[in-house]
Subunit: 650 residues, 2 copies
């Protein structure tokens, strides 16, 4: 392993020209961010109140009033600002920039003289700063402030918000540490670790990196900070569900370097692991990196849904145990998949291993995109793999599952998180190391590499599996490493007009193409990724006897609107190959054969053993676009018709 | 429908001689009640503290101290006393009687001068009586006090506890009503309705019946009482989960006569419905009875588990919607099945229809009995139909499910409820109306009917399906109506030594045998009830493609200890008949053929389509005795191997 500072193409040097993704970028710029702007300004009558801008106004003494909203309502503003930043880095948008500048001024106005900034705490004078790291979100909010500040500064060159962030970060560095009078604690919700590393990178101030490392080193070592907080006189829980606190919830049950499994609240978990990788990378901390890698393997090998989502328990939105992957009552939060995507990108870059991108891509093309409606106007927080709408009842154990996307949430972490993730897509496409450029995501774009090399990618992936790469004015780049997805069949590399045998250059999922001595090169990659049936490990009880359909990185699902209901009556005949078909709207659907089982009895239970197996053709659509038509049942995993060896194909 | 006061054989007139049930009665008398006595006295070190007797001591000024425990901790004492009463009605037990007499004195000491009695409220002077009917359990506790008092008085003839109960009931009658200065409310947790009817029956005081009717008439009519409570200044929730209160939770969403579906907390629901039937029966209120019957049909036809359990949602322990019957995360509380049993017995008696007994029997022989270990020492609260032990993790949505029975619960409603139910078995066996005696449950016993007729039943049901009934000294009884279970095949009635054609006398599940002019009669019933495969309605997604095994009233399940794991890999071959076998310990096991599917891939997800279907013989045990050996997986519903018409039997 070699550890270098991260390098990628900055957003002002890449232009996304992709049909699929440009539409999403447009949605972010013209629909989601303006809508979210209205939402955080409480200008959408039918949405639950946000009050996030209002809280800042009150904290900034612009207005009178009381705080309203979740503890971490500030982050809605910060994530909006971060999303705006990524758009502004790529595109001009004077409306968004004007609003953002105003927001920045407002945030600066709300900041305390000593640099502290959290409107919940500022507007609750009886609440002592940092007194409840278990449940409080001050450090979490600080992290999102810092991420937004770094993004806005990088996009616009304007210093004001960066100054706000560094002033707060300086206060945090002063406040938390092993020194006398310092707090020896760490955040209940990780996020600041990865943010402080970004701040160290952009400011060159190593203190922020050291502070991030401090939080990681302290976490879960010695007496658990949160259990100690609970014992303090006067401590009372903000959230009743935190009584009988389980340190696993916040990944503080063990020192982070000793953790081997993904535990607790899934978003907290992946944000923490990202911070671990970031600090490990910059401090050459192999133990820390290895721990993150071990946990990753646990997630990907035992605790992740086929759709790249995580968090099997609706209660506490958390990981449970190996192979426990219920499809209808899981949490699988959009934000957790965003964190998983981020973690995969980091590990891929560090290990120069494309298998991490395969997982990141799974999260992006399935769960992250499923989180937003095709029109950008409504959102999923929770991403089940199976829905029977009438069972998603309030005041039951299924209350967290929504069968249709919601306009805006009271706790609105997901919509702005999805927006900032899509807006920052350009940052994921490439990674750079020495004289190698890695092409991770197959997205049409033109980009200028730091050495001046111009690169252009044209593709209609994942609908088609041809990727054309044109490089010109090649200067210092010596190698182009193109990802070979694990699902690619018959992967071919055509250099100019000649196919090249690339097998020998295949290393950790990248095909390495030497560019020595050329100034211009044209490469065409083709592979096949037809729809295939996927089965889960037999230890996954929820998927036993079932199959799913996957085509390239996209998982498919059956919807009631195409296939009737109940979907639990569908048996897939896997002896017939599934066939793809491009619909008029450009979506690739998959058609497969099977049977619909119909019982004869209307009784609840019956010994009647007669039933009909009606041969039927079914249709599956990509998971990311489920729930965009008439609401109804949805299922990723469907029963497989089993034929015994003497009776059928097996 | 004719409505008469209920009539059954009182416990002092029936002697249970049944091998299966005598063992349970012994367990109740010698194991459960003495154990529970220790538990409520905090004499079991490894069990969570109960403090229930202690609360009474403090309220009675025998001791200093503070209240501890759930709001309704008093009912543990009352249910224990009720269970003891049923034992004392049948058997001498001077130890239990002495303890019970002491408890009665203690309860009387704790009662306030005006008759009020609830140690939680007495020991929380700041808590205003009846101020929170939504969450408070004062009327619920009063109901259990009354039930215990009636039972103890009937068993021993001692008046003291009945006086306590009537004094409290008088206060309640005074307090609740439509008059000026009265509270126009009704209990958040029904129970007092059925208890007041019992008190009316035993005291002959119609005021108690009118009070029960008042609570039913008020419930859900006009402005919801609980929502109104919430709006009162100073109201605060005792339970955070009751914020955003759903009136369905307490069946107060509609006037009870307009309710058509079973809603909300399952125990509350069935206790309410029992009260409705009781009041309907005694007030000739057809509308009220019809409502209870409609709700019953909804439960039995759409919302009940095969095991006679109810409550699909772990959150709020409640009914959800039609056909929503998840097997692994349900609540299916033992207490709810006790209520369902009670409801079935009431409806069977009123309608003289044995189909209600079929359901009551299902609840009794499966869920109620599964609630207690074979040694009587540990208990289930929640009764899943499928368990993968490692997924039943604390701090997750599966935290309510326990893969092994627990010693005693902090909220200990179920163990004493099971004890009192088993102890009162004798009350369910017969029902009487005019000159007809109905034999409902096939339990060996000898009994003296009110007219002096002696009756004796000998059977080894449900292990064997022969029932011998000997009647002698027949006086006024003219008809013996013996239940014909819906699952009985080849039901035969042999009178003396001659088989009689009984088809014409079959009415609503009872075969009516005329006893005109005889003094002595000997009847032998035989039928067959071999193990059969049962399928659920195709609208039950959780059971789609699966079968269960039932033998007579008993549902079977597969356990890991017999069949290995994962049980999700088992496919039942329903073309082979399941076979029963009597094990050495007397338990009838069922053996069936099938296949175990084993995948080849160790990956979490794979496109490898090879797998092995290994022909295997499996064993199922009665559901009531699951979890009495090595802990492991358990499943009632198993996958069915489907053969297509051209490939196999169908």
């Amino acid at each position: 392993m070699s550890m270098q500072n991260r390098q990628t193409v900055s957003l002002d040097k890449i232009h996304i020209t992709d049909e699929f993704w440009s539409r999403y970028l447009d949605l972010v710029q013209y629909e989601m961010l303006p809508y979210q702007w209205k939402a955080i300004n409480d200008e959408i009558p039918e949405a639950p109140p946000s009050h996030s801008i209002e809280n800042f106004r009150i904290a900034a003494h612009e207005k009178e009033g009381a705080y309203y909203g979740a503890l971490f309502q500030d982050t809605d503003v910060y994530k909006w600002l971060e999303g705006v930043s990524y758009i502004l880095a790529q595109r001009c948008d004077s409306f968004l920039e004007q609003q953002a500048d105003k927001v920045v001024e407002l945030i600066a106005q709300a900041q305390c003289d000593d640099g502290y900034l959290d409107t919940y705490v500022i507007l609750h004078p009886e609440y002592e700063r940092w007194s409840n790291l278990m449940e409080g979100h001050e450090l979490y909010c600080a992290g999102h402030l810092i991420e937004a500040a770094v993004a806005y500064y990088c996009a616009t060159g304007k210093h004001m918000i960066l100054t706000v962030a560094t002033r707060f970060a300086d206060l945090i560095c002063q406040t938390f540490g092993d020194g006398d009078g310092q707090i020896h604690g760490y955040p209940g919700h990780p996020e600041i670790e990865l943010a402080l590393v970004k701040l160290a990178d952009v400011t060159g101030n190593g203190a922020y990196l050291r502070q991030a490392k401090y939080f990681l080193d302290r976490r879960g070592s010695g007496k658990n900070w949160f259990l100690a907080e609970e014992e303090r006189p006067g401590f009372h829980h903000q959230f009743p569900e935190f009584a009988d606190y389980d340190p696993r919830y916040s990944q503080s049950h063990l020192p982070v370097r000793e953790q081997k499994t993904a535990e607790g609240h899934a978003v907290r978990a992946v944000y923490l692991y990202c911070g671990m990788v970031d600090v490990a990378e910059r401090t050459q901390d192999e133990t820390l990196l290895r721990a993150a890698g071990t946990i990753w393997d646990n997630i990907v090998g035992r605790r992740m849904y086929l759709t790249g989502s995580i968090g099997s328990s609706g209660v506490l939105e958390r990981f449970t145990c190996d192979y426990d992957l219920p499809n209808e009552r899981n949490y699988s939060e959009s934000c957790a998949s965003i964190g998983l995507l981020q973690l995969g990108i980091r590990l891929a870059r560090l290990y120069k291993d494309a298998s991490y991108i395969d997982v990141a891509e799974l999260a992006l093309y399935n769960t992250v995109l499923a989180g937003v409606a095709l029109d950008g106007k409504s959102f999923f927080y929770v991403n089940p793999l199976e829905v029977v709408p009438e069972t998603c009842m309030s005041h039951t154990s299924m209350a967290h599952v929504k069968p249709v996307r919601q306009k805006w949430f009271g706790v609105a972490c997901c919509p702005p998180n999805i927006a900032r993730t899509i807006a920052s897509l350009g940052l994921f496409v490439y990674s750079l190391e020495d004289a190698t450029v890695f092409l991770n995501f197959f997205v049409s774009n033109t980009a200028d590499l730091p050495d001046g090399t111009h690169i252009e990618v044209k593709t209609d992936y994942p609908r088609e599996n041809t990727i054309e790469v044109m490089m010109s004015e090649i200067k210092e780049i010596r190698t182009l490493a193109i990802r070979v997805p694990h699902f690619a069949r018959n992967y071919r590399v055509i250099l100019g007009s000649q196919e090249i045998p690339y097998a020998k250059t295949l290393h950790r999922g990248y095909c390495h193409i030497a560019l020595d001595g050329v100034q211009t090169v044209s490469i065409r990659i083709t592979f096949e990724a037809p729809p295939v049936f996927v089965r889960a490990n037999s230890r996954v009880a929820a998927d036993a006897g079932k199959v799913a359909i996957k085509r390239g990185p996209q998982v498919y699902c059956a919807e009631e609107t195409d296939n009737g209901k109940p979907l639990s009556a569908v048996y897939v005949d896997t002896s017939h190959r599934p066939e793809e078909q491009r619909a008029e709207n450009g979506v690739v659907t998959v058609h497969f054969s099977g049977y619909r089982r119909t019982g004869n009895s209307t009784a609840l239970y019956s010994t009647d053993d007669s039933f009909i197996m009606e041969k039927t053709e079914f249709v599956a659509v990509p998971y990311y676009c489920w729930g965009n038509r008439t609401p109804g049942e949805m299922a990723v995993w469907l029963k497989e018709l089993i034929r015994l060896p003497d009776e059928g194909k097996k």
